[in-house]
Symmetry: C2
Subunit: 356 residues, 2 copies
DNA sequence: CGATCGACCTAGATCGATCCAATCGAGGTG
DNA sequence: CACCTCGATTGGATCGATCTAGGTCGATCG
C-alpha cells in the first residue's frame, strides 16, 4: 500500500519508458508486461506484483499511438461541436459536453471535437472515419434534413444520436433523446396544480417536429384535465422579440393566467411583456420555460423551466456506444428519458396559492 | 478539375486502403506516396498527379495511429473541460471552445477534452502526457493556486495558458489573456460619454486578481476624467443576490446614475434591484456587465456588456502552440488582447442623452 | 513411466505510416 | 571518358504496442 506515487514526481524523461523497458527491468517478456496491463488474471500473483512494481517505478504508461495502431481502435469519440447560437438562451450544449466527457472517461474514452461546416456537413466525419482517428461518433444535431445520421449509417460507422430521427422511418440507428412532451406535460400539470386553468402555449413554428412534440404535451395535459386549448396557442420564431409579441396578443385576446413556452428564449419574451405591463411573474402571471438555461437561473425572478437530464443522456449514449463497439446486440434502437422541472419564482405566487 | 468526389461516395470498405495499396496501384514505392502526401514538391509533377489520382480513386487517407506512432505526435490538443457553474451567467466557455476547435482545425489539430478532478488536478494531464496522447495542452483555469501551469512547466510539457499567471513571478510559460481592465475602462468611458458622472462599481472580493484588475479599469477611467470613486464601490460574491444587495446599498448611500459590474451575474442583480424600485434600466440608471453572456443578450432590456474576443484568443493560443511545438522561439511570453463593448439598451437612454 | 493437460510465459510477426541510406539516371565538367 | 552533382525514387528499418503460435514445467492420469 505504497501511498507515494513515484510516477508523478520528477520531470518526464525525454522519451517515456516503453513496454520493452519495463520487460527488461522486471526480467519478463514484453507480452507478460502487456498482459499485466490488459489481462492481469493471466499472470501468477507474484509475477503480476513484480511487473506492477516496475511499471510504477518507471512511470510507464502504454503509448497510445502504438496501441491504437495494433488494436485498430483509438478510444476516442468524435463529436462535431457547434456553438450555441448568439441571441438565444440555449446553453444546453455546455452541460451536455461536460456530461459526455465525464461519462466517456468512466469507460476509458476521450472526446474529440471537430468543427462543423455547413457546406460540407459530412466532411469532418469523413476525414476522421477514413483516417481511423475515432472509434465512434456522437451526433447531436439531428434536425430535419440533416444528412449525417443517414450518411454514417450508410458508411457503417458506429454512432449514437442525441435526438430522435423525427421524419425518417428508415432510420435504424441507435438514439437517445429527452421526452420533451413529457417535460411540457410536467410543466402544465404543475401550473394546473397551482390553480391555473387558462394556460397558454407559445411554441415554435409548425415545421419543427421538436416544437410540435413539446406542444403535444401541453395539449394532452390540458385535455386530460378537462381544460380548453382553443385560442390559447401561438407558434413563432425562437427569438425573444417574437415571444414578447405572442404574449401580448394572447394576453389581450385570451387572458391566460399562465404561459408555457417551448424555450427559455420565448419565456424571456413573455417576461418582457409582463414587465412592460407591470405584471409580476409568479404573482400575477405564471411562466414556464424549457432548457433550464443560465438565463432561467440568473434572471432576477427565477424562471421555472423544464430541465433535460443531460447527465443521464450522456451516460446512456456512452453505454450504447460501448455496446455498438463491442458488437453486442443493442437491446433497443432508441431510449427516451424523462426531464424534470426546475421550479422557481416565475411559477410560484409569493402569497398563498389562489384556489381555482 | 474533377468536381465529383469519388472518395465520398459508396460505403467504406471493411479495412480502409493503406499507403501500400496506393503505392502498388500507382506503380510507385510507398515512400513516394508518403511524399505525395507530405512533401509534394519532392515529386515530379507527372508522378505527383498520378499518385494523387490513385489516392482519390481509393479514397485513401493516412492512418492516424500509424502516423502518430512514427512521428511521435498526435495532432491533438488536450483541454480540461470544466462546465460553467450553475447559477452564474458565465457562458464564455462554450464560445471559447468553439473558437479553439475552429482555430485548431485550421492548422490540422483537433481538440481532445478530458474531465477535471478537483482532488487530483494534474491527473488527467499526467495520463495524457505519459501515454503521448496529446501534443500539447491549453490550460484555462489559471486561478490562484492552480498547480497545473507550474506542474506542466516542470514536466516540460508544451502548453499555452488562457489567463495570466497572476501571482507567480516565476512563471515563464506562454499565456494569452484578455485585458479586463481595458474592457472596464471602455465601459466606464462609454458611460461618461453618455453624461454619467456618478458611476458605481460592483466587483468581486479582493482576493480575486481578475476582479481587482477589472476594478482598476474603472478607477483609472474615473480619475482620468476627474471623477470621484469614493463610496462608489462594492466587492461581493459573484452571485445575483449579492449584486442586488450591493446595488440597493449603493443607491441608498451614494445615488449613482450608473453601475459597472465585474460580471453579467452581478449586473443581473443590479437589474433586479432596479426592477423592484421601479427604475428603468437605461433610462433611469445605466448598467454594464462583463462577458456578453447569453443572459446579456436575451434579457428583455438588453444588457450592455464587455465582450471578450474569444475567437482571437483561440487563434493566438493556437499560433503560440504551433511555435512551441515547432521549437521556434516564441517572441513573447504573454499576449494581452483588447475586449470590445456590446452596447445595448441598459446603457442607452430611450430619450435624448442628458447633458452632464 | 510416458502421455496429456493446463497454467504461465516467451519469441517473432504485425499494425501502417515515416525515417534513413542508398540507388538510379540525366546532365555538367575538366 | 571518367567523375561528380543533383533530382527523383526506392527498399529496409523503425516507432511501441498487441496477436499468434509455440514452448516450459509441474501436476495429473492411464
Amino acid at each position: 500500500m505504497a501511498r507515494t506515487e513515484h510516477r508523478k514526481s520528477g520531470t518526464l524523461p525525454v522519451t517515456p519508458p516503453t513496454l520493452a523497458d519495463v520487460a527488461e527491468r522486471a526480467g519478463v517478456s514484453r507480452q507478460t508486461v502487456s498482459n499485466a496491463v490488459n489481462n492481469p488474471d493471466l499472470l501468477r500473483p507474484d509475477t503480476l506484483e513484480r511487473v506492477r512494481q516496475t511499471i510504477a517505478e518507471l512511470g510507464y504508461s502504454p503509448n497510445r499511438a502504438a496501441r491504437n495502431l495494433r488494436t485498430r481502435t483509438s478510444s476516442l469519440i468524435g463529436m462535431r461541436f457547434a456553438p450555441a447560437q448568439e441571441g438565444t438562451a440555449n446553453a444546453a450544449m455546455d452541460r451536455f459536453v461536460h456530461s459526455l466527457v465525464e461519462a466517456s472517461e468512466e469507460v476509458g474514452y476521450h472526446v474529440l471535437l471537430f468543427p462543423g461546416d455547413d457546406e460540407d456537413p459530412v466532411g469532418g466525419y469523413d476525414n476522421l472515419l477514413r483516417s481511423t482517428a475515432v472509434d465512434a461518433f456522437v451526433v447531436t444535431d439531428t434536425y430535419l434534413g440533416n444528412p449525417q445520421a443517414a450518411w454514417l449509417s450508410q458508411q457503417r460507422a458506429p454512432f449514437v444520436a442525441f435526438g430522435r430521427p423525427w421524419h425518417d422511418d428508415e432510420a435504424r440507428h441507435v438514439w437517445v433523446d429527452v421526452d420533451g412532451a413529457a417535460g411540457i406535460a410536467l410543466a402544465t400539470q404543475h401550473l394546473i396544480d397551482r390553480g391555473h386553468t387558462r394556460i397558454a402555449w407559445i411554441g415554435w413554428r409548425k415545421d419543427s417536429p421538436i416544437g410540435e412534440d413539446r406542444r403535444s404535451g401541453w395539449v394532452r395535459t390540458m385535455h386530460a384535465n378537462g381544460l380548453s386549448t382553443t385560442g390559447m396557442a401561438s407558434r413563432v420564431e425562437d427569438v425573444v422579440h417574437s415571444g414578447a409579441e405572442a404574449a401580448a396578443v394572447l394576453l389581450d385576446e385570451s387572458a391566460p393566467t399562465a404561459f408555457v413556452c417551448a424555450s427559455d428564449t420565448l419565456a424571456m419574451g413573455v417576461l418582457h411583456t409582463l414587465w412592460i405591463r407591470q405584471l409580476a411573474p409568479g404573482r400575477d402571471i405564471a411562466v414556464v420555460g424549457f432548457d433550464d438555461s443560465q438565463v432561467a437561473q440568473v434572471y432576477p425572478v427565477g424562471l421555472t423551466s423544464v430541465r433535460q437530464p443531460l447527465e443521464d443522456v450522456a451516460v446512456e449514449i456512452v453505454r450504447n456506444l460501448r455496446a455498438l463497439l463491442s458488437h453486442q446486440p443493442v437491446e433497443t434502437r432508441g431510449v427516451l428519458l424523462e426531464p424534470t422541472l426546475a421550479i422557481r419564482e416565475s411559477s410560484q405566487p409569493a402569497g398563498p396559492v389562489v384556489a381555482q
